[in-house]
Amino acid sequence: MTESTLEKKPAPRASGAAFILKKAAISALVALVLFSLMIGVRTEAGPQGGLIYWTRFGDLAAIVAAVFGGSIIIELLRQWWGPADKVRVVPPAVQNALSLAGRLLAPALLIFTFLVPVIFYDQRYILDLAILVLTYVMLGWGLNVVVGLAGLLDLGYVAFYAVGAYSYALLATNFGLSFWVCLPLAGILAAFWGVLLGFPVLRLRGDYLAIVTLAFGEIIRLVIINWQSLTGGPNGVSGIPRPTLFGIPLTPGEDGLAARLGIEFSPTHRIVFLFYLILALALLTNWVTIRLRRLPIGRAWEALREDEVACRALGINTTTTKLTAFATGAMFGGFAGAFFATRQGFISPESFTFQESALVLAIVVLGGMGSQLGVALAALAMIGGFELFRGLDQYRMLVFGLAMVLLMIWRPRGLIGHRAPTVYLERSQAISSDLVKEGHG
């Protein structure tokens, strides 16, 4: 059905108060049935081991009432906002202003990021949060190579994060290797695992690929949990050495950085150092990705996402193209993992669950697949938003899940859906997301 026929169709008599009330009543009824047992009755293991239960009809009534009220509000908002299909015409002046703001956004964001430790020097909490956000920005950019550029769905990305973290943790605690030696090793090992995962999934498509990558992530996690002699099992690895500034530790001791510079030691130095370390790693990821996109390998990744058959007809080895995408993405995941290990000083399998993979994938998809800026914004929104709800405590994951659903419905193609060409003759113009394929892998 075209836009115009939709517009011309007379609005059905569906705006009256009776309609809204009926709809709200149905919603409330559904909620009543859904929650009758799950909320109305609370079970718990009793003191003698048997089960006991008590009723919470008050809570149930409150929730059903909330659904009734919420449903009315949503319906009113919907009518006020008009049909979702309606194309909203943005005036050209606003469009120009928006596009200018868009161009300035990335540099402004970058400058602000550089200044974060200066502005928030005394606020340890904000610095920690900024480090966390940057870690996810880096993970998002790494996964973006696989999902956004090559169009290969990877639900087990956390496996490479884990490989990187454990590589550094084990090499450092067992052999005393320094962070700067281990960082490339962690990347290489993760890339190696990326290729290893790549081989079996080469022939797979779509959801088969999704489930195999998911299974792979779980296998890595289960092996880490069960191979106790190597990994410490569920107890994890502790006492992971902190990073040094090329050999100079950031400690209060005599050979520490503060003593050498002749300034007073402060634990914040290390946090600031970690901040710039992850910022450098993330920017490296970004720089390499942007460079790769303009090289034949990056174009082959995007071409693979667009049409694999055409790639083969043009003499592109799709096997190595896919494997390099997996390896590159995994390598960045490995770097991020090594950073995570050195920052925490302690790692355990709990940090590498499927939830992490889902979170990073959500960042990539919400960012707009393939868009570097979009991924950074999405990481900021997701991790920052998640922190905002810290006060909600146990409701946090619930809100997070709901937010994921709503964000996908609001922007299925992500915050920045259009694609920027990698090369141009006259001028670079953004390509609408309707044309850009998602890949089938």
């Binding site: 390499v288 460079r291 790769l292 090289l295 034949p296 390998i297 174009r299 082959a300 995007e302 071409a303 996402r305 667009e306 049409d307 058959v309 055409a310 790639c311 083969r312 007809a313 043009l314 003499g315 592109i316 080895n317 799709t318 694609r419 060409p421 990698t422 090369v423 141009y424 003759l425 006259e426 001028r427 670079s428 113009q429 390509i431 609408s432 044309l435 850009v436 394929k437």
Partner: protein
Amino acid sequence: MSETILSVDRLSMRFGGIVAVNDLSFDAGRRKITALIGPNGAGKTTVFNCITGFYKPSGGSIALTHDDGKTIQLERLNDFRISKQARVARTFQNIRLFPGMTALENLMVAQHNALMRASGLTFLGLIGAPSWRSAEARAIDLARTWLTRIGLLDRADDAAGNLPYGDQRRLEIARAMCTEPALLCLDEPAAGLNARESAALSELLLSIRSEFGTSILLIEHDMSVVMEISDHVVVMDYGVKIAEGTPRSVRDDPKVIAAYLGADEEEAIAVMESGT
């Protein structure tokens, strides 16, 4: 130097119990345009898929002889090597461009293997070595030349998926040519084109043959194109060859007329009327 670039010998392709191509033999001449025609379902695209490595033939051989006399058995190569090593390029019946990439990018992807070497398997390119920069500039020049040739220079930076149908067809041919093929296989290049566009296509194909010395093998239903540009025509029906020869001799062949009449009256009339 052999006069034959492609020699298909007793090619067979079976899918389960269905025989799509049965014992087909024909040759395609060097620097010649060979047309493969026949009613719908005759097995033409299957032959193409065997030649370009998308299917592994059930039997028979396909030999490609390059200008230097080297012969490659195509049935032993798999997918991307046909294009990379044997230098056989193809287009598709239902256009397969990269719709989300610009016209220019499409032509750059086509030069992947050459650029991959020039970028030192990415490493030289990553550090921005001068040799890579000049190779990239040359690749853009080649793309620009082809865009000019197909009249799409002013749309170089538009997404391929946004181009009109006829432009997409020409862009796909240009993309195949950017792989610098010895043999160009075109699957119904004139499908969906109007008379003017068809004429332009004929001109483009003739110029490709004369300027680049590329041999062309094409499947086509548009008889005006076939009659105008082909040097040699092979007619298939039900997976077997029923006739072969010059466009004129094929057109008058009673077996060919019967095949088209049996399949589709309009097509038979088109065959008989075209060129007369």
